[in-house]
Symmetry: C2
Subunit: 598 residues, 2 copies
C-alpha cells in the first residue's frame, strides 16, 4: 500500500508542446515519464511500476517458452560488428562511443573502439560459438530484458521512437531448420501469451526481414490509428502482412507476356519527364501502360527496377535481391550508365549505354500486365512505344517489388484486401545461418559432422508496449490501464484526509483489497475532491473506492470501475454499504484478477 502524499505522481493539466499523439500526451500528463532530451525519457515512479509489471510478465512467458535469461553488455566492441554481416548498415544507426579520453580528441576522426548495442546478434553468436560445440547442447534460446540504443535522427512520439529503449531480445540456436521452426513457434506462442496477459490487442503479421536477412518473420502489431506501419489483411482468409511485405493476387501466376502487336517506335516527348506528363495530352498514355524505370544502388552497385507507371516501388522488397544497403541512385550516377537523365529512362535491349555497369535489371511481375507499353528511350526528350516485356526488355529477373494497396485481391482468398495502421510491438525472425556461418557458430552432430547452427531472433519493445497500451485504451479523461499491468489496481480516494474516521475506513478497505491481491494506492492528499477525481481518471487506476463525505455519513462507500472492459461491463458508480464493503471489494478484485488471468 502506498500513500499518494509520500509517493510521487506529478500530474499535469497541460500536454507538452512536442507531444503529437494521445498516448505521448498521457504518458507525460499522468506523470509516467519525463523527457530528459530528444528521445530520452526518465521512467517516473508510476511508469516504472508499469515497466516492472510488463517486464515480470514477459520474463515469465519467455521462461515458459523455454528461453534462458542472461544479460549482455550495452557497450559493444566495434570489431564485433565489423566481423558481422551488417556493419555497413548497422553503423548508421549505432551510437559510436569515444573511449580515448580527452587527450586523444585531436586524433579524431578514427574508427571508434566501442558502439552502443541496438541489438545483440553480433555479440551472442560469437559467445555461443565459444561455448556450444555439440548437438547435445542444442537447442538453446537465450533472452535478456535490457536497454537498447539507436542513433535515431528524428526521435518522436515519446517512447515509440526513442534513442534508448527497453527491449526483450532473444536468440535461438537450433541444429536444423525444423528445430528452428519449432523454436520460432514456441516463441510465437510465448508472444501471444504475453500480449494476452498484459491486455493488449496485438496481431501477428507477416513481415519483411530487412537488414536482419532472415528467411521469414512475423511482426506483432497493435492496431492503432497513429501506428507507423500499414497492416494489409483479409478477414476472409486471416491473411495479415506488413505492407512492406504484403503481396496480392493482382497478377495471375500463370500470366504470359502479352503478344507483341507492333514494332518499337521512338517518339519525341520534349519536357515530358514524368508518368503524369505522358498520361496527359498530347500523349495520353495511361499510367498502367507505362514502364517506370528506376535506378538504385545496392552495396555500391547500380541496378534497375522496372514497375508499371501506376505502381509504387516498395523499397523494403528490394531486400530480396540480397543487398545489405540500398538507396536511389543520383542523377549524376544515372546518366553515364543509362545514357539519359531521369525522365527518359528505359530498359529496352540495346538501348542502355553501359549495361555492364548494372548489377541487374529487376522487374515487378505486374509489368506482364502491360501489352504494348511506353518507356523512356534513354535519350533525353524521347520515349518508345509498342514496347513488349518478353520481346523488348532486358530483364534479369522478375520479382515482387510493388506496394500493395487495399482493394487488391487477397493472395489466399482472392477477396479484397483491407488496410489499417498498427504499432509494431514485437518481431520474430528465423535468421537461418547468416550469422552462424559468418561467426563460425557450428556444432558437431552424432556422426561427427559439423553444421552451422540455425538461428532465430526475437524482440519485444517493452517501453513501446507501455505506450501502445495507452494508445489502445484511453478516453478524454485519461488512461484506462488493463488490470495486469496497472501501476496500482485499486485507488482509495479519501475525500478529506483530516477526517480520522474516514481515514480508518479507507485503511481497512485498502487492506482488504491488498489481501485480495491488489496493489493499492491511497489518495491522502490535502486536495479538493474534484482534483482527486480528475487525477484518478488521468492516471487510470482500474478500480476506485471513494471514502468520506456524505456517503460515509450515510454508511456507504462508492465503488467505480475506470473501464467497462475491466470487470462488470459498467463504469457506473455503485454505493456499497459499509458493512459489505470489505467483502465486495475482495470479490471485485478477485474477479478482475481472474478475468485478467484468463
Amino acid at each position: 500500500m502506498k500513500f499518494w502524499s509520500q509517493f510521487f505522481i506529478p500530474t499535469l493539466k497541460e500536454s507538452p508542446a512536442d507531444a503529437e499523439i494521445a498516448s505521448h500526451k498521457l504518458l507525460v500528463r499522468a506523470g509516467l515519464v519525463r523527457k530528459l532530451g530528444a528521445g530520452l525519457y526518465t521512467y517516473m515512479p508510476l511508469g516504472q511500476r508499469v515497466m516492472r509489471k510488463l517486464t515480470e510478465i514477459c520474463r515469465e512467458e519467455m521462461d515458459r517458452a523455454g528461453a534462458i535469461e542472461l544479460w549482455m553488455p550495452h557497450l559493444h566492441p566495434a570489431e564485433s560488428w565489423e566481423a558481422g554481416p551488417r556493419w555497413a548498415a548497422g553503423r548508421e544507426i549505432m551510437f559510436r562511443v569515444d573511449s580515448a579520453g580527452e587527450g586523444a580528441a585531436a586524433k579524431l576522426p578514427r574508427e571508434p573502439e566501442l558502439v552502443l548495442g541496438p541489438t545483440h546478434e553480433e555479440i551472442i553468436t560469437p559467445l555461443v560459438k565459444n561455448e556450444i560445440t555439440s548437438y547435445r547442447d542444442l537447442p538453446k534460446n537465450f533472452y535478456q530484458i535490457a536497454t537498447k540504443f539507436r542513433n535515431e535522427i528524428r526521435p518522436r512520439y515519446g517512447l515509440m521512437r526513442g534513442r534508448e529503449f527497453v527491449m526483450m531480445d532473444a536468440y535461438s540456436f537450433d541444429a536444423d531448420e525444423a528445430g528452428a521452426a519449432q523454436s520460432y513457434e514456441a516463441m510465437k506462442r510465448g508472444y501471444e501469451a504475453f500480449f494476452k496477459r498484459i491486455g493488449m490487442h496485438a496481431i501477428a503479421v507477416e513481415a519483411d526481414t530487412g537488414v536482419m536477412g532472415g528467411s521469414f518473420s512475423h511482426e506483432f502489431m497493435a492496431p492503432a490509428e497513429i501506428g507507423d506501419d500499414d497492416i494489409i489483411y483479409c478477414e476472409a482468409s486471416g491473411y495479415a502482412a506488413n505492407r512492406e511485405k504484403a503481396t496480392s493476387a493482382l497478377v495471375p501466376a500463370d500470366l504470359a507476356d502479352a503478344a507483341p502487336v507492333g514494332e518499337v517506335e521512338k517518339f519525341a516527348t520534349p519536357g515530358a519527364t514524368t508518368i503524369a506528363a505522358l498520361e496527359a495530352a498530347p500523349y495520353g498514355v495511361p499510367a498502367s501502360a507505362q514502364f517506370k524505370t528506376l535506378v538504385y544502388v545496392g552495396d555500391g552497385q547500380p541496378f534497375v527496377v522496372i514497375l508499371r507507371g501506376c505502381d509504387e516501388l516498395e523499397e523494403a522488397k528490394l531486400g530480396a535481391l540480397g543487398f545489405t544497403l540500398v538507396r536511389p541512385a543520383t542523377p549524376e550516377e544515372i546518366e553515364p550508365i543509362m545514357g539519359a537523365k531521369p525522365g527518359s529512362l528505359g530498359a529496352v535491349k540495346g538501348r542502355i549505354q553501359k549495361p555492364d555497369a548494372l548489377a541487374g535489371i529487376f522487374a515487378d511481375h505486374a509489368i506482364r500486365l502491360i501489352g504494348n507499353g511506353t518507356t523512356g528511350a534513354n535519350e533525353d526528350g524521347y520515349h518508345l512505344r509498342n514496347v513488349n516485356v518478353g520481346r523488348d526488355l532486358a530483364v534479369t529477373r522478375f520479382g515482387d517489388f510493388r506496394r500493395v494497396h487495399e482493394g487488391e485481391p487477397c493472395p489466399r482468398s482472392g477477396q479484397p484486401l483491407k488496410s489499417r495502421r498498427g504499432i509494431e510491438v514485437g518481431h520474430i525472425f528465423v535468421l537461418g545461418t547468416k550469422y552462424s556461418e559468418r561467426f563460425g557458430a557450428v556444432y558437431t552432430d552424432a556422426e561427427k559432422q559439423t553444421h552451422p547452427m540455425v538461428m532465430g531472433s526475437y524482440g519485444i519493445g517493452i517501453g513501446r508496449v507501455m505506450q501502445a497500451l495507452i494508445e489502445q485504451d484511453h478516453d478524454g479523461d485519461g488512461i484506462r490501464w488493463p488490470w495486469a499491468v496497472a501501476p496500482f489496481q485499486v485507488l482509495v480516494t479519501l475525500l478529506d484526509p483530516k477526517d480520522e474516521a474516514a481515514a480508518a475506513v479507507a485503511k481497512t478497505l485498502a487492506e482488504a483489497a491488498e489481501r485480495a491481491g491488489a496493489d493499492v494506492l491511497v489518495d491522502d492528499r490535502d486536495e479538493r475532491p474534484g482534483v482527486k477525481f480528475k487525477d484518478a481518471d488521468l492516471i487510470g487506476i482500474p478500480l476506485r473506492l471513494t471514502v468520506g463525505g456524505r456517503g460515509l455519513k450515510e454508511g456507504v462507500v462508492e465503488l467505480k470501475w475506470r473501464s467497462a472492459v475491466a470487470n462488470q461491463g459498467s463504469t457506473e458508480a455503485r454505493k456499497i454499504p459499509l458493512a459489505e464493503a470489505e467483502a465486495v471489494i475482495a470479490a471485485e478484485v478477485s474477479a478482475a484478477a481472474a478475468v485478467a488471468a484468463d
Copy 2:
C-alpha cells in the same frame, strides 16, 4: 525446477589468463560471466540468477527505507553535466557519445552532444527542481537499479572495476540538514539490512567525499585481502575509516610549536635531493626532522603542501582545500615559482621566488612535532637547518594531509589502530546543497521563504557485490553461495540419468525442496559422477542431494551442505533413508531459509 542439461552452465577447468584474483577466476570457471571486451562482461544464466536475487533484495530494502524507484536514461545530454559543478572532473571518466552519424566524422573533434552516465546527480537534481516546489512534497528519496558507465583506463579484477556495471543509486532531497541526516540514517540502516540479508560481511567506515563534495559519508567495505582500499580501524572504540579519510591522535590537539633553538642556517647538500639522502651520512638528518615540501596544482592554481619527511601525503585529503581537480605540479611548473628544482624546495618565509603565484601553503599538523628541522633552501644544492614551524615557515593553513598507518593511536580510544584491506561495495553521502544550489532545486517553506534542498546520494555496486560475496566465501573447490542469493539453493545430483527409478526419486525430492521454498537444479547430465561433484562444488549450490548408485540400492540418498556456515555447522555427507528424505529435505530447506532471514 531447472534441469542442467536444458539450462546453460559452461564450467571451465582452467582460469582465464587475465584473472588475477580468486573471485574473478571463479566467476568465469563457474560459468557466471564471460568477457566480451576490456571491462565488459556478459552475465551468463547462472550469474544473471544471482544478480536478479541481489536486485530484488536491494529493491525490497530500498522500498522499506522509504525510497521510490524510478529509472533514468543511460545517455545524458552533455549540457546537463556542463551545467553542474563537476564537468571538469567528470568528463575524464565519462564515455563521450557521437550522435552525429557518419558524415559528421570529419568535423570532429568537438564537444559531444551526449555522454554515458557514471552517476545521476546531474540528471535528477534538475528533474526534482522542475517537479517539486513545496516543503509539503519533501522529503523524497529516489532510487534506480541500472547500468552505469565509466571510461576506466585499466579495467581489472572482473566485475570489480568494469567499464559498465550495475548499480543501485539513490538521491534524497530534504528541507534541511536534520532531515538529510534522517534520510542518511534510514539509508544506512537499509544498507545494513541489505548486506545482512545477502549474507555479506560489510562494515560502514568513514570515507572521503572526494569529487562528490558532500559534507560527510560512509563507505560500506567488504573485508577482503584483494580489496583496493585500506580500512583503518580500532577494535576498542569501533572507529573505522577509509585510509584516505582516517585520522589518528598522533599529534596532540594542544601541541604548541617547539621553541626555536638556533638561527636558520644554509648548508650545501650537493646531489642530495631526497629525504633518504639527507638521512644518510654526512648529513644524518632523521626523516622525522625534515620538512617535505610538495607542489601541487588545484584547478590550475599551484599550491604548496608541507609534511614531515617521514610522512606520506594522502592526496584525497587535499579535497578539503576546496579544489575540484588536484594533481602534482611538473618540474617545469615548479622551478619558476619556487626558485629551485624539486629536491631543494622549502617554504621558509622570504625564500620563495614568486609567493604570489601560490594559492596557499598548507601544512600537515604533524610538522608541529618537528623542533629544529631541515628543509630545502629553494636554491639547487642547498638546504636550511634550524628551521622552526612558527617562526620560519610561511604557512597559510594547517590541516590533516598525512596518510595514517596502523599502530598510530586511535582518535577516539588512543589504542593502536589496525588496518585491513576491503572492497568498497556501497557508499552513502550527505551532499548538502552543492547540487541543489547549482541547479536551482529550491522549495518554498510554510512562510513562503525559498531554500535549497539538502541532498544525499547513495550507491551500491550490485555486480561488485556478487563478486565480493565469492571473494569472501570460497575454498579451493569453488564458490560457497549464501542461501539468499544462491543461483539455485538445492542441487539434486542424479548419478545415472538413465536409471529411471533414480530419476523418479530425484524428481520427488526436487519437488519436496521446491515446496519448501527452494530453487532447485537437477543435474541430469550424461556425465561421470566425478565431473558432477566437481562442478557442484565449483558452482557452490548450498545444499546437495545425491541420488542413485549403491546408496539408492541400499535405500538412502546423500545430503551434503557446501558450507558449514549455511546450516548444520557441518559439511559432512549424511545418508538419509529414502522414507524420511522428503521430510528431512523440507526441514533443512526451511531451517536454512530461517537462518538466512534472521
